[in-house]
């Protein structure tokens, strides 16, 4: 550990720093696969960092490092003491510390992705940690999930419904999911993906890219 001498904290309003994107959702819905896809697709054009929140030690971080989609040193893992949602919502200190460590080491960054540990439908990111958030569901959890709602489904800036390739096998009706999601989400967007069939996750990456562009215009480093 020891002393870090470059102790610069960013302004709470976010000027002069990267967009922070939270990726949350239930266990097994494809969060880590989506993060890997975003790194693969956006990595050539953007300076990225990733923070993972694992339930057990550093499994997701290790998966991403092995996937070779990003310099392994740009991936940090946070341990969450049995409570993945606490670390992204109620007590975000360890995640903020990891995000700022990445910005100190590799900054200026364009985008820092914070992947939550797999949790339930009530998990959302604090606005003190994530500027934008994606909630990831998969069709094999059943096509009733969007109707059940919950803060992740209803309030996330983007809802991703993954594993559409499995829909025929589990009897999930994508039309029902789309209609139910629109009913609880209003104007907020929903994207259907099959990261297995389309490893670039092009539509999601394009949405994220637009968010980064908009953020950089409104949160440029103030002239000093």
């Amino acid at each position: 550990m020891g002393a870090r001498h470059d102790d610069h904290h960013h302004a709470p309003d976010g000027h002069g720093r990267a967009l922070r994107l939270g990726v949350g959702g239930p266990v097994g819905s494809g969060k880590t696969a989506l993060v890997a896809a975003l790194c693969r697709t956006l990595g050539p054009d953007l300076s990225l960092g990733v923070v993972t929140n694992d339930i057990y030690t550093t499994e997701d971080a290790d998966f991403l490092r092995r996937a070779g989609v990003l310099d392994p040193e740009r991936i940090l893992a946070v341990e969450t003491g049995c409570c993945p949602h606490t670390a992204i919502r109620d007590d975000i200190a360890a995640n903020l510390d990891a995000v700022e460590t990445l910005e100190d080491r590799f900054g200026p960054l364009d985008l820092v992705i914070v992947e939550s540990g797999g949790d339930n439908l009530t998990a959302t990111f604090s606005r003190g940690l994530a500027d934008r958030q994606i909630f990831v569901l998969d069709v094999s959890g059943g096509d009733k999930v969007p109707r059940k709602g919950g803060p992740g489904v209803t309030t996330a800036d983007l809802l991703v419904i993954n594993k559409t390739d499995l829909a025929p096998m589990v009897g999930a009706d994508l039309g029902v999911m789309d209609r139910d999601a629109a009913a609880v989400r209003g104007e907020r967007p929903v994207l259907f993906t099959s990261i297995r069939e389309q490893p670039s996750a092009g539509a999601v990456a394009s949405w994220v890219s637009d968010q980064v562009t908009a953020w950089s215009h409104t949160h440029a480093t103030p002239a000093s």
Binding site: Y56, T57, G81, A93, A94
Partner: protein, 232 residues
């Protein structure tokens, strides 16, 4: 009157990363030595009277010194290092100290916290707690009490999560530790002739240095464990 700042500092909901640390509880539970409320009581009592004693003393010393313009935090940092044999425990203490300092600088802005951050960006937790107590308007005795409570409250919560213990039984256990908490805090900062806020007599080198080799070993085993839920 009790300082309201103390209540915030001692609250486990303070968003300073403490929820992810078990203070050795996860590893001692994995080893089977703590498995129910009576065995948890023995663990917490031992932890309070070993690791808790220097933590409380360091917190009180930091609170008392925070009134100075240049307290020489590097020296107190070395005293804390010297009292923390396990590298894993040092890392856990510095991580929690850095996160607490981050929170305190926003919640109770004060030059004393900025000076601490300049001198030791990752201070040991009890030192950060002592200076945060100063900024929050709490006394040295209160800082010591908060440090002593921190030594047992985190492991107690971790045990509730890991073993599914009755949370009311565990809180009754924490309540029963009350006299011990008060005794540890009083030893760290004896009520005495010194006016509130001033340094107690004696130098930092004379602060208590109780050690708990079993806690050191647990911390090292935990840092090397393949599977873990808590940072420490």
């Amino acid at each position: 009157m009790l300082s309201p700042g103390l209540l915030l500092l001692a609250d486990s909901r303070l968003p300073a990363g403490g929820h992810a640390h078990s203070g050795g509880a996860e590893r001692v539970i994995a080893a089977g030595a703590v498995h129910d409320v009576p065995s948890l009581e023995r663990f917490l009592r031992g932890r309070l009277h070993t690791a808790g004693v220097p933590a409380a003393a360091l917190a009180a010393a930091a609170r008392a010194a925070a009134v100075d313009e240049s307290p020489g935090w590097e020296l107190l940092d070395e005293e804390a290092d010297a009292r923390t044999a396990s590298p894993a425990q040092r890392a856990a203490s510095r991580t929690q100290g850095r996160l607490l300092l981050r929170v305190a600088r926003r919640v109770w802005p004060a030059e004393a916290l900025e000076e601490l951050a300049r001198r030791t960006p990752s201070p040991h937790h009890p030192v950060a707690l002592g200076v945060a107590a100063y900024a929050a308007g709490a006394t040295a005795g209160e800082a010591a009490l908060a440090a002593a409570y921190h030594a047992v409250s985190g492991p107690a919560t971790a045990a509730v999560r890991l073993l599914g213990l009755d949370p009311v039984a565990v809180h009754a256990l924490l309540a029963a530790l009350g006299p011990d908490l008060a005794a540890v805090a009083e030893r760290a900062h004896p009520p005495g002739p010194h006016p509130p806020g001033s340094r107690p007599p004696g130098s930092w080198a004379e602060l208590p240095a109780c050690s708990a080799p079993a806690l050191d070993l647990l911390a090292e085993q935990h840092a090397r464990a393949e599977v873990r839920l808590f940072v420490s």
